[in-house]
């Protein structure tokens, strides 16, 4: 396979415990690795329960936070060793769309401001007319028109419009990768479809890859190509989206998929589910599997060492000792 566009190598992020912090250290990501390829453009989903480190990952990739350990490489260059030009290039090529479509607007300025910043800082367009054209074009891609949007204040837009403007903003830079952190979880069901549709369009027609962060497996299922399921800072399962959801291997992912409420009043949740108490979860299995306290299949080995990734199918791996044998039995 070609060289990955974005490489995350053994990244660990620890919060707190630092110089001025009052809290105990929290390991948000633990030796986490991830490769994002972009030929052809694809949508890579990162899923996982709340607090599993998804947003932290986004913050690391976008450079809002430095990793505690490990490195992030873009086109082979370490993010924290980039020079000025490389940084600018990186900012252009890796863009983001966030969860809350209201928060990302400075309430003080008109919508135009969002585009002005980009035009000014990345020198898009040599004159007013040219940049305006580029803005229009970008808005058209997401099905909006400049005159109905740009002069308004953010609160005058609907949620869907706001989110689409953000996509247009990212698109305008013609990035290679857009990091979308829960882009649809705050919008109305009907608008959700529209945003996801635009994402697919950008992937297919404009060859922009996405890192789609969500805890909603059903949307991932609809648009995603590859999927990583995170659990407490480590990958539990990765592979083709459809495969994972249709045939989850890791006990956690199974639990997750089972918990998705069926949108059908006739199909109720099957069994009751019980989570272990906080203490149990907090108990340190120093090097053991993170899921062990909740796992119905817990084995002795699980207490000792965090399992590595075991192949469970074509392009499908799970971090669970259940599949250790399986892998050993059918070596590649």
């Amino acid at each position: 396979m070609a060289e990955p566009l974005l490489e995350i190598k053994n990244v660990t992020k620890i919060f707190g415990g630092g110089l001025l912090s009052t809290s105990k250290p929290v390991v948000a990501l633990d030796g986490y690795s991830l490769d994002v390829y972009d030929q052809p453009a694809r949508i890579t989903t990162i899923a996982g329960e709340s607090g599993s480190g998804k947003t932290t990952l986004v913050n690391l990739i976008l450079g809002y936070l430095p990793p505690s350990e490990g490195e992030i490489r873009y086109k082979g260059i370490n993010l924290h060793e980039m020079d000025r030009n490389q940084r600018l290039m990186y900012r252009r090529e890796v863009q983001a769309v966030f969860q809350d479509p209201y928060e990302v607007y400075n309430p003080f300025y008109r919508v135009q401001h969002i585009f002005d910043m980009v035009v000014r800082n990345f020198k898009l367009g040599t004159n007013k007319k040219e940049s305006r054209e580029r803005i229009e074009e970008a808005l058209n891609v997401v099905g909006l028109r400049g005159e109905e949007i740009l002069e308004k204040y953010p609160h005058q837009l609907s949620g869907g419009q706001r989110q689409r403007v953000m996509v247009a903003r990212a698109y305008m830079l013609k990035p290679r990768l857009i990091v979308a952190d829960e882009p649809v979880s705050a919008v109305d069901a009907s608008l959700r479809a529209m945003i996801l549709d635009i994402m697919m369009k950008l992937r297919d027609e404009h060859h922009i890859s996405f890192l789609y962060i969500t805890h909603d497996l059903s949307t991932a299922y609809q648009i995603g190509d590859e999927m990583y399921v995170l659990f407490q800072g480590v990958t539990a399962e990765k592979g083709d989206t459809a495969q994972i959801i249709e045939n989850p291997k890791h006990p956690y992912v199974q639990e997750l998929v089972n918990s998705i409420p069926a949108p059908d009043p006739e199909i109720k949740w099957e069994t009751d589910i019980h989570l272990p108490s906080e203490e149990e979860m907090r108990m340190k299995y120093a090097r053991g599997c993170r899921f062990f306290p909740r796992c119905p299949y817990g084995m002795d080995i699980c207490k000792q060492k965090q399992p590595g990734m075991f192949t469970v199918g074509p392009q499908h791996e799970a971090a669970c000792y259940l599949y250790q044998k399986q892998q050993e039995e059918q070596p590649k």
Binding site: L62, A96, F98, E103, N106, P107, I114, V118
Partner: protein, 294 residues
């Protein structure tokens, strides 16, 4: 599908048309106008020592129409003094508050935005300055600079007015820093300067506006206290110097109400109007409050 035309905002929708805010602003304007227009209609030379007869009561207590509000025992006309004093006190308040606030904004922004040692240095400095007696600094300054007018006085007050705003701005920046639009601006290639002043600053405006009013009254009072201790320029009368001189000349016990009461009344009016402005601004910035005092 045909779109219905959405009605434009009603002109009366403007949140700045807040009654309290407007009343406050009008009082301030009236008071300032009194000072500014007074110069045209009244001879402000009478505000200086020895320009008028001594100790005349106001006209309704048997004074003379040449000095309608009476005179005090340095031979100054009270009306002229007020005309000169109001703008000068206002000036002190405005300059001290705005310089102090600006310094607080810049330092607080730097501390909050960059954190680390910048933060440590600024915080330490702010804490240390709070403990230094204003008087000591004032005396040093008086030894080197001639305090010819109220501007220097205001600047000195400003030197002590920044730690408060710095602390507050710092915490504001700390929370603003996490806002989505700041992250978006970073993604858009904005540099720290742009982030601090283009993105964050406007969003602190309501707060800035609200606290600048408080700081102005504070600075006017601060100046008054310094003048009461006899520090500060004296040729140009300010509300503080009038009160101070009234006090040292035993105006109270001499029954010269016309000497000590007007400046206090003006101070109270100024304070009230600023309070109204602050409340109004609060309501403008925070829609939840609008019904609160109905």
């Amino acid at each position: 599908m045909e779109q219905k035309k959405v009605r434009r905002w009603n002109t009366w929708d403007n949140p700045w048309l807040n009654t309290k805010f407007l009343i406050g602003i009008s009082i301030v304007i009236l008071v300032v106008l009194f000072g500014l227009l007074g110069r045209i209609f009244w001879n402000v030379e009478l505000a200086y020592v020895g320009s008028s007869p001594l100790n005349l009561p106001p006209v309704w207590q048997g004074g003379v129409p040449e000095h309608p509000l009476g005179t005090e025992s340095n031979g100054r006309d009270m009306l002229a003094q007020l005309i000169v004093a109001i703008p000068s006190s206002f000036k002190v308040g405005l300059i001290a508050a705005s310089v102090g606030m600006t310094a607080g904004l810049v330092l607080g922004s730097l501390a909050g935005y960059f954190g680390g040692w910048v933060d440590a240095v600024i915080r330490t400095l702010a804490d240390a300055v709070v403990t230094i007696p204003t008087l000591a600094v004032l005396i040093v300054i008086a030894a080197f600079f001639t305090m010819r007018d109220t501007t220097s006085m205001a600047l000195i007050l400003a030197m002590f007015a920044w730690p408060g705003p710095t602390r507050i701005v710092r915490s504001q920046v700390l929370s603003l820093r996490e806002r989505g639009y700041i992250r978006m601006a970073v993604l858009s290639g904005e540099r720290p300067f742009g982030l601090m002043f283009r993105e964050m600053l406007p969003n602190m405006l309501p707060w800035i506006a609200a606290s600048i009013t408080g700081n102005i009254s504070g600075a006017i009072l601060g100046a008054t206290s310094l003048e009461a201790l006899g520090l500060g320029p004296t040729r140009v009368p300010s509300l503080g110097t009038i009160i101070n001189q009234a006090q040292t000349s035993s105006a109270l016990i001499r029954g010269m109400v016309w000497w000590w009461f007007p400046p206090i009344l003006v101070l109270m009016i100024i304070f009230t109007s600023f309070f109204l402005i602050t409340t109004g601004l609060d309501e403008i910035a925070n829609p939840r409050l609008r019904g609160l005092n109905k």
